[in-house]
């Protein structure tokens, strides 16, 4: 049980860092860990661009090392397809108008004693 908790804590820490990164890039975080029966969206953010408002749905994967590969490698095609479906449900429920939507992925590597390494890939799906 203790192990599971620390794994969850790691995930939360990764998502905190991911939110900070999106905000640093000028995005506004609208929602975190939004759940429905299909699954969960890690971060929903909005980005004002020259062509209007973009809604960004972001999947975050955090790992404590590279022993099992880079976290981004764990974000599969199936996961992104699910995220796309979830995005549609989220928009229907929230009635937010946006000119475009975008799916992003953020991989966070948190090795204890080392600075966090964060990789942000835009428009993956």
């Amino acid at each position: 049980m203790a192990k599971t908790e620390s794994k969850q804590q790691l995930g939360v820490r990764g998502e905190d860092l991911a939110c900070a990164e999106l905000e640093r890039q000028g995005m506004q975080v609208l929602e975190r860990n939004w759940r429905c029966r299909l699954g969960e969206i890690d971060i929903v953010a909005r980005e004002a661009g020259p062509t209007g408002l973009t809604l960004v749905f972001c999947e975050v994967k955090c790992r404590s090392g590279l022993g099992f590969g880079h976290p981004l490698e764990a974000i599969t095609f199936t996961k992104m397809r699910t995220l796309r479906r979830l995005a549609a449900i989220w928009m229907r429920e929230h009635q937010v108008k946006a000119s475009t939507i975008r799916l992003d992925a953020i991989g966070v590597v948190l090795v204890s004693g080392q600075p966090a390494s964060l990789t942000h890939v835009r428009a993956v799906g």
Partner: protein, 310 residues
């Protein structure tokens, strides 16, 4: 976001056709796509190459990697494209310069540990490369003799990805230093790690290098990526100096610096100009150093634990 290309040969019967292998590292989730009409053995090159690169101390790009074999209409079979694929990927990552792969054909299958395995058809493929105007062919080490049967093309045999990197990255750098030092390269790159063993009575300048307007690298730089062996090093004042300088230059990775003492600065007449790269193993021998007896330098070379392995 970067791309590079390597070259290989598709054999259709005995006739060889040149194949361009492009690698592009683009934005996207980590995924490797291999396009250009590969058969299943070739499609598996993806997984083979990935393991081979990771096990050779290099990194596989954590992004969308697209490998294209061109001309796309030509069906391609077999596993000998591995080497060209890996070379293109490493060049795209900037491990060595992409133009190192120009005029070079690469042939070889990879093992998961990064070894280069023999392939079939080295001779006809080399003939095709030579006829198409390529000047260099890199083949599995054991098959270098077969490729050398073809006149008019340089043949390099390699046993692993590590050697490929050494050949494409280090040889150019080492050759450039030797060229600057005034050696005649006689139409070919230096591919064997250099060895330099200046005499203990040698002056600081002849070991460290100098030069008035044009930097003249000497013993230290000429052992770049190789072995610098200082025999009887306790005998000579200048060599002791060099040992000291080496340790400092190691950290600074340049031959001359203004911060060094006046003695050294006067040996290198233009401090700060002669920045000639040097990374090597340093061997020291001499009475009082322990473990070595003087005058048996070569015999003991293999026992040298590098004192300063850069």
């Amino acid at each position: 976001v970067a791309s590079a290309c390597g070259w290989s040969v598709a054999l259709v019967g005995l006739e060889g056709r040149i194949v361009e292998v492009e690698a592009d590292i683009g934005a996207g989730l980590p995924r490797t796509v291999l396009v250009g009409l590969p058969d299943s053995a070739l499609y598996q090159a993806r997984d083979r190459c990935k393991a081979a690169v990771s096990n050779s101390g290099q990194e596989w790009p954590i992004s969308l990697l697209t490998i294209n074999l061109s001309p796309a209409t030509l069906p391609k079979a077999g596993s000998h494209y591995d080497l060209a694929i890996v070379a293109a990927i490493l060049a795209a990552q900037g491990i060595f310069r992409a133009d190192e792969l120009r005029r070079t054909v690469l042939l070889g299958e990879l093992g998961l540990d990064g070894r280069v395995r023999p392939i079939r058809g080295v001779l006809p493929a080399t003939v095709a490369a030579q006829q198409a105007g390529f000047t260099r062919v890199i083949v599995p080490l054991r098959q270098a003799g077969e490729a050398k049967l073809v006149a008019g093309i340089d043949v390099f045999g390699i046993a692993s990805i590590t050697q490929l990197v050494a050949l494409l990255h280090d040889s150019l750098e080492v050759s450039a230093v030797h060229s600057l030092a005034g050696f005649n390269l006689a139409n070919e790159l230096i591919t064997r790690p250099p060895y330099s063993d200046p005499h203990h009575s040698a002056s600081v300048a002849s070991i460290v290098g100098g030069g008035q307007r044009i930097a003249r690298p000497r013993a230290i730089s000429c052992a770049h990526k190789g072995v610098l062996f200082l025999d009887d090093s306790t005998e000579a004042q200048s060599i002791q100096w060099c040992g000291f300088i080496l340790v400092i230059a190691d950290a600074l990775s340049k031959v001359a610096t203004d911060n060094l003492t006046a003695k050294f600065a006067s040996a290198v007449r233009q401090p700060g100009v002669a920045r000639v790269a040097r990374r090597q193993s340093l061997g020291l021998a001499g009475v009082g150093l322990g473990g070595f007896s003087s005058g048996r330098a070569m015999a003991q070379l293999r026992n040298i634990r590098s004192v300063s392995a850069a």
